[in-house]
């Protein structure tokens, strides 16, 4: 029954977003209920087709249910809403107002996701299919021009012409380094040794970044197609996709996609009747952050601990098993089919002088609309945070935005109008990294943030070279001292000095960029360091040893919210009367401070 309906053009499609965020909010239950209620439903002439899609990006409003072709999007749908959706929307064509998104400014109910501020400023290239297709279906991918770029390359272009398009597009590696992709392929092509290997780096490790996960889960075939096009350029026969250990669903969808691609003749011998033969193997990572570094990743595939090597010779010349190897990140691969199909020039018409095209950012932290956004390079931080992201929740004050993962930096409010691309971010002491944007408000302590990243990197440093291994330990010891209120003013100079040595002397990019969080917070938020050291006070109310919370009796309405949230029952007071914090019980977790809607909880 279902099979026949798929072929009926124009029949209603119901797409339930089953990305990680929506799933955690109950999308699977919604899907199951829809399945149960639609199966053999006699009220329909043609039963609507149900699809589980990848992540739509707007995790904040999930689970999302889209109904096509009417283009209706329902937000925060629960299994209990399913009967009403079938009854009213699917059978009678009525919209259910309470499930539509309401614009917080205009108070207007918006029918389609595409009308919202969150989507309007976006331009989807790498994410073009995600949320629109069932990732487990190769037919869905093919229906949206999937494998057409491969066909175009194989049938109508020479390998050199394909390479020329990629160079013309100006695409730079989306994994963090920003190396021009076309030049990387060219360098590998020039090496007259075979076999050559192609690797997809899916070891996404930056905390707060999940675009690669979303692509691997939501549109796995685009990665395969991108790699195939590169294989044609290089005459490579073997590729590897290295997936981060934590990403179970990505492994599942990629495995399925590789099997389907083989079955349909897109992988294997003489692909589409051409001379190209290429196959892909999936490798699961072992849970080590440093394996995102390309030489470490190569070691890991070979069957060793993932330790990086120096890069006097690039992997394009001597990579996997000493052979010429092209290694690109997931998002980079996802752009390739579009570049070939629509031309490099069109891609290059988007973005800035030095950074072409779009970039996917994961917008998280203290911002109203958290999720994944794809925007043209050169957009300002202000547009991303305030127009797409909807600003800072609970009327709090914006403090900083952290970009570039643990080795990135913190950018303060005075740089909100910075047009972001690879080069501007590096100039301001941060970096693009894989595209995490973590928004911080006045309840985030910048010294503690620096300590957090330094700790992260100290744990993840592979320990091979001394500046990184010992430098991080020394930085961590000093920062820990400062957040405990035992810092000295001389510590600030010492932090600076150790950082500079690490930048100069570390072996790989992990160590060379590891001091960025320390240096950028020292540069823009030195007053917070001084407050910790001289005043023995944490202005953000985060560091437990340096914080005392109190409730302003004038502002407190006695709503009891803080009392309910307090994990140690340290807050007393009757409803509708001012509450009091029992200082001897308080563990300074800050839950009351962050959750109070009346700003009555203060940092003393």
């Amino acid at each position: 029954m279902k099979e026949n309906n798929v072929k009926e053009k124009g029949c209603t499609k119901i797409m339930v977003c089953c990305g990680t965020g929506c799933t955690a909010n109950g999308a699977r239950q919604v899907l199951a209920r829809l399945e149960e209620k639609l199966r053999g439903n006699k009220n329909f002439e043609v039963v609507p087709v149900l699809k589980a899609t990848g992540c739509n990006g707007w995790c904040e409003k999930g689970p999302l249910v889209k109904i096509m072709p009417e283009d209706i999007t329902y937000c925060q749908v629960k299994a209990e809403d399913v009967d009403e959706i079938i009854e009213k929307t699917l059978l009678r064509g009525e919209k259910i107002k309470r499930l539509l998104y309401r614009d917080p400014q205009t108070k207007e109910f918006l029918v389609s996701l595409h009308q919202t501020d969150f989507y309007r400023k976006q331009k989807k290239i790498a994410l073009r299919n995600i949320g629109e297709i069932d990732p487990a279906s190769i037919d869905d991918y093919i229906e949206r021009d999937g494998y057409k770029a491969l066909e175009k390359a194989l049938k109508y272009m020479t390998p050199d012409e394909v390479l020329e398009e990629v160079i013309k597009s100006g695409l730079r590696g989306r994994g963090g380094g920003g190396f021009p992709t076309g030049r990387k392929w060219q360098a590998c092509k020039k090496v007259p040794r075979f076999p050559k290997y192609i690797i997809c780096n899916g070891d996404e490790g930056d905390p707060g970044a999940f675009m690669d996960r979303s692509i691997m889960e939501g549109d796995p075939h685009t990665i395969i197609e991108g790699m195939l096009i590169c294989a044609y350029v290089l005459q490579a026969e073997k590729g590897f996709i290295y997936v981060r250990d934590e990403y179970d669903l990505a492994v599942k969808h990629l495995t399925q996609a590789i099997l389907d691609a083989r079955r349909c003749g897109f992988l294997g011998k003489n692909i589409l009747g051409s001379s190209l033969s290429f196959d892909i193997e999936l490798v699961r990572g072992g849970g080590a952050f440093v394996c995102g570094e390309e030489t470490a990743l190569i070691k890991s595939i070979e069957g060793f601990p993932g330790e990086p090597r120096d890069k006097y010779i690039f992997p394009t010349e001597s990579g996997l098993w000493g052979q010429p190897t092209v290694i690109n990140n997931v998002e980079t691969w996802a752009n390739i089919p579009v570049i070939i199909l629509e031309g490099g020039e069109k891609f290059a018409s988007l973005g800035t002088e030095g950074s072409k095209g779009t970039k996917v950012f994961s917008l998280v932290g203290k911002v109203v609309n958290t999720g994944l956004v794809e925007v043209p390079m050169g957009i300002t931080l202000r547009e991303i945070i305030y127009e797409i992201g909807g600003g800072i929740p609970n009327g709090r004050q914006f403090k900083a935005v952290q970009t570039g993962g643990p080795s990135g930096g913190c950018i303060p409010a005075q740089l909100l109008d910075l047009e972001i691309d690879f080069d501007t971010l590096t100039r301001e002491g941060s970096m693009m990294g894989s595209g995490g944007i973590i928004v911080m408000d006045d309840t985030t302590c910048m010294v503690e943030v620096a300590r957090y990243y330094t700790n992260f990197l100290a744990v993840e440093s592979c320990g091979k070279c001394t500046p990184c291994r010992e430098g991080l330990r020394a930085l961590l010891a000093i920062l820990t001292r400062i957040v405990k209120g035992e810092g000295k003013m001389e510590d600030l100079e010492l932090l600076q000095e150790i950082s500079e040595v690490m930048q100069e002397a570390s072996l790989c990019a992990l160590g060379r960029t590891a001091p960025n969080p320390v240096l950028s917070t020292l540069k823009y938020f030195q007053d917070e360091y001084v407050a910790h050291i001289i005043d023995r006070r944490c202005p953000a109310g985060v560091c437990p040893e340096l914080t005392v919370f109190e409730i302003d009796a004038e502002l407190c309405t006695g709503c009891t919210l803080c009392q309910k949230n307090c994990p140690v029952d340290a807050i007393t007071g009757e409803a509708k009367k001012a509450h009091i914090i029992q200082q001897d019980k308080c563990i300074r977790c800050g839950e009351c401070y962050r959750s109070c809607r009346f700003r009555a909880v203060k940092v003393k």
Binding site: G208, V283, F289, G303, E591
Partner: protein, 167 residues
């Protein structure tokens, strides 16, 4: 879930896993993944078999087992609590959750309760930043967790139901 099995049973299970792969060093990682999944840790016996099967020194196998975080050399608990401490979760109070779990179960990250029920881990990022702070118990994801929720969640798994069960 792994039942307590004797040495011959471990050997048999390991052999089954090894038989799926060609005897090449590049499959060490994949074989370890399978063993970890089967036993919830890497049994020493299995590592020895793996070394001789792939023809590498035992030290290299051990180096890999201790380098990669996906592997454990000690048996883990029935319920594995993963508290996400990625940046988004961190600035929304993930550390307080770890403190709360310690209060109820007396375990710190990397430890297992004495009765083998719970293991606690912190992970760098689960990619569910929109739901921060996040924790996962086995497969189930809990989003926007507050310190006050911890008691209820742990009780779902039979932990801290009464004094007798507290570890």
């Amino acid at each position: 879930m792994p039942e307590i099995i004797d040495a011959t049973a471990i050997e048999k299970a390991c052999k089954e896993i090894l038989d799926h792969y060609a005897p090449e060093p590049r499959y060490i990682l994949a074989i370890m993944q399978d063993m970890q999944k089967r036993f919830n840790y890497l049994p020493p016996q299995g590592l020895k078999m793996l070394a001789s099967y792939t023809g590498v020194p035992f030290s290299q196998v051990y180096a890999m087992a201790s380098f990669y975080k996906a592997f454990s050399l000690k048996p883990k608990g029935r319920y594995i609590i993963k508290v996400c401490d990625g940046t988004a979760c961190h600035i929304k109070g993930a550390e307080t959750l770890v403190e709360q779990i310690y209060k109820y179960l007396q375990i710190r990250p990397g430890e297992t309760t004495r009765d083998g029920s719970f293991s606690l881990e912190t992970v760098n990022c689960l990619g569910a930043c929109a739901l921060a702070p996040v924790m996962v118990i086995n497969e189930k994801v809990y989003g926007k967790v507050t310190p006050a929720d911890i008691e209820r969640i742990i009780k779902e798994y039979g932990g801290w139901a009464d004094e007798g069960k507290q570890c």
